[in-house]
């Protein structure tokens, strides 16, 4: 059952490039940006050595990289690209266009802080900025998940009921440049798992010409956007279906999120990305001293599994959402908003607080996470919400 090809030491970027190599897309149009650049460099060397069939387009900007990807998938070719931070921000309008045109582009997206100030290190402000674009967002904790998520993302994005673009996120430098053991799979099995690309339409079908990207006036735009919402409601079911298949073929289990010691937990944190791994160590220690601590690690951020999140968290006494990005002048960070909203209608619901942490690559330590649980335990004991529901963790005030 566990079809293991090889356990090798790979950084997150190497794992992403390897997954792309084994997927062997028809086209890859990309532009370099730290810390995602290596993905394209490694992939370019695969192209140069004839190890893939991919047509590599060295776009002159990220905006053009996404534009070319759109032209390519619209022409019936499986296409991938990769970027980060300012690059994602530069292609922002094209993200909405890719989703609006139902083009299943899969993109490794390395989380890096948005300027200003300019910073090359990790936070989630980039992918959070794209959360309304219609892109599926799958978050990875480590290099293994980067590899596995990219492979599954192809199946999810290209599913006939879905046909939406998907980004697979992972933390810049912390994961992208850190080497970890990764169990890789056989390329043939991956090809069989993803199958050939069956596009919904193609510009190259010259006998049946179509117009892609027409203008809608006030009489049609709303219906078209309403129609775009439909596939998003089906994504989570497809994610589970693909995960079940993935477990069968490759032996590793995935879900719409990961629950860590949540069965009898009383206090829990909600977190995305590599911080979840550090939190596991804290939780293990707390459990040893009898604290019923747990964690909900977000894997699917868009669509947000609000029903399932509510069902898991409603019995908690206190929950802290850790956001690695700020939503300036909003009510706390983005994930905080989603979680609170999900729980609003639950008959039983915990006190929910928010910590914005780790901006610009600021380290989040075991002590930081422990302090969050200390706060949660205090809230659970008193049953009272703190005066400030959201605050910043690990910054010099």
């Amino acid at each position: 059952m566990a079809i293991l090809k090889e356990r090798i030491a790979l950084t997150g970027n190497e794992a992403a490039a390897l997954a792309m190599k084994q997927i062997n897309p028809d086209v890859c149009a990309a532009y370099p940006i730290t810390p995602a650049t290596e993905i394209m460099q490694i992939f370019a060397s695969y192209v140069a050595d004839g190890l893939v069939d991919t047509e590599l387009v060295a776009a002159e900007s990220e905006h053009s990289a996404m534009s070319a990807s759109i032209g390519s998938v619209a022409s019936g070719a499986r296409s991938m690209t990769a970027t980060s931070s300012q690059g994602l921000a530069l292609m922002w309008e094209m993200l909405y266009i890719a989703a609006g045109l139902r083009l299943p582009i899969v993109m490794p997206m390395v989380n890096r802080a948005l300027s200003a100030p300019i910073n090359i290190h990790c936070d989630h402000s980039d992918s959070m900025g794209a959360r309304d674009s219609g892109w599926i967002q799958i978050n990875s904790e480590n290099a293994q998940e980067v590899y596995d998520n990219i492979i599954q993302a192809i199946r999810i994005a290209e599913h006939p009921d879905i046909q939406l673009p998907a980004m697979v996120t992972f933390d810049g430098f912390i994961i992208s440049h850190a080497m970890e053991p990764v169990d890789t799979c056989d390329a043939e099995k991956i090809q069989k798992f993803i199958g050939p690309f069956k596009p919904m339409y193609s510009l190259l079908d010259v006998d049946h010409p179509i117009t892609v990207g027409a203008i809608d006036l006030t009489d049609y735009y709303f219906e078209h956007r309403r129609a775009l919402a439909e596939p998003t409601f089906k994504v989570l079911d497809v994610v589970e279906e693909v995960a079940a298949d993935f477990e069968r073929e490759f032996g590793r289990k995935y879900g719409i999120f990961e629950l860590y010691k949540m069965d009898d937990a009383e206090v829990a944190i909600v977190v995305l990305g590599s911080t979840a791994g550090t939190a596991k160590v804290v939780i293990d220690e707390l459990r040893e001293s009898g604290v019923k601590a747990g964690m909900l690690k977000v894997r699917m951020y868009r669509p947000f599994p609000y029903k399932q999140v509510a069902s898991v968290l409603s019995d908690m006494k206190a929950v802290a959402v850790l956001d690695r990005s700020d939503s300036l002048a909003g009510f706390g960070g983005p994930v905080f908003g989603d979680v609170r909203s999900a729980l609003y209608d639950s008959a039983k619901r915990p006190i929910i607080t928010n910590y914005i942490y780790g901006l610009g690559g600021r380290d989040i330590t075991l002590a930081h996470i422990k302090s969050v649980y200390d706060d949660l335990l205090a809230i659970a004991k008193s049953g009272k919400a703190p005066a400030n529901l959201f605050g910043y963790l690990g910054v010099r005030e």
């Binding site: 534009s67 070319a68 022409s75």
Partner: protein, 308 residues
């Protein structure tokens, strides 16, 4: 050379009934370009007059496959389609010949689209970029572009009490494209259909990127009566304001020399957007424009003579 009798027999790949202005000359340009080949083509357009008037859902005037994605990136978008075609053909997943044509207005080409145009040309994709140049952002109400000539009155460079319209000269994008050293670059006008169709044929036959800068007289923005679109094109060519030339593998050739070079003022007088430059205090603009036209024409002739 194109044969008119043969051209008119061809099936039109662009349908009538679209929403372009009465007297608009870009539909003529599209039809002339598409008539230049029998090979299937995939077309793209940047946001602009052409895209907005020909693809209002649920209608489309395009009988060829067509894509529009955004304003500044038709070159990048079509380069992606071309890359897909190359990849699929190479892998044996697609059979058949297809050509790729990107249409962009001067706004989406000279200004915001310059980067993606330059990138696509530099990468060597086998595609033709046709700039339909009406010398301003016409779709959105006549705002200036870097293709707008000196002295033109536009909504963002209005002729007022203190400023006499646009104070900058127009960029020479055709020369910029020639400097990319791509196989084929040319200037054309719908008024000279044979010249345009021949150039489109050469562009489509080029084994690499090709660029056509086509003057597109605009009755709305230039302000003339709808029946004079083609005449305006002729006038522009005859005063050498819009020389018809080509650069084929680096070799310059003037493809049409007016029998008598008319003064630029005659061409400008026919357009309401230049009404104000005929006031005495603005005479310098006409002089400068004439000087510019003369100098560029002279340089062009020298280049053509030297063949470089």
């Amino acid at each position: 050379m194109a044969n008119l009798k043969e051209l008119v027999k061809k099936e039109e790949k662009f349908a009538p009934g679209h929403r372009a202005c009465a007297g608009c000359t870009f539909p003529i340009i599209i039809r002339q370009v598409l008539a230049a080949t029998d090979t299937p083509v995939v077309c793209g357009a940047a946001t602009g007059c052409m895209e907005v008037t020909t693809t209002i859902f649920p209608f489309t005037a395009w009988k060829t496959p067509f894509i529009h994605s955004a304003f500044e990136n038709v070159a990048a978008t079509i380069s992606g389609a071309e890359a897909a075609y190359r990849s699929l053909k190479r892998q044996g997943k697609y059979e058949g010949e297809v050509r790729f044509i990107a249409f962009g207005g001067d706004g989406g080409t000279y200004d915001i689209g310059l980067q993606s145009l330059s990138g696509a040309m530099e990468r060597g994709h086998r595609m033709v970029y046709v700039c339909y140049n009406n010398e301003a952002y016409m779709n959105t109400g006549v705002q200036r572009s870097s293709a707008t000539p000196l002295g033109a009155d536009t909504t963002t460079s209005p002729a007022g009490k203190v400023k006499p319209g646009k104070l900058q000269s127009r960029k020479d994008l055709t020369e910029i494209m020639a400097a990319h050293h791509i196989p084929y670059v040319a200037q054309a006008s719908p008024s000279h259909w044979n010249d345009l169709v021949t150039k489109a044929q050469k562009a489509l036959a080029a084994d690499g990127p090709a660029f056509l800068n086509v003057l597109m007289p605009c009755r709305l923005g230039w302000a003339f009566q709808p029946q004079f679109g083609i005449q305006m094109g002729r006038d522009a060519v005859n005063c050498c304001y819009w020389p018809l030339y080509e650069v084929e593998n680096g070799k310059y050739k003037i493809t049409y020399t007016p029998k008598e070079k008319a003064p630029v003022a005659e061409f400008l007088k026919k357009q309401t957007k230049f009404k104000h430059i005929f006031r005495p205090e603005n005479e310098w603009i006409i002089e400068q424009l004439q000087a510019e036209v003369d100098s560029r024409w002279e340089t062009l002739q020298k280049r053509a003579e030297m063949g470089c």
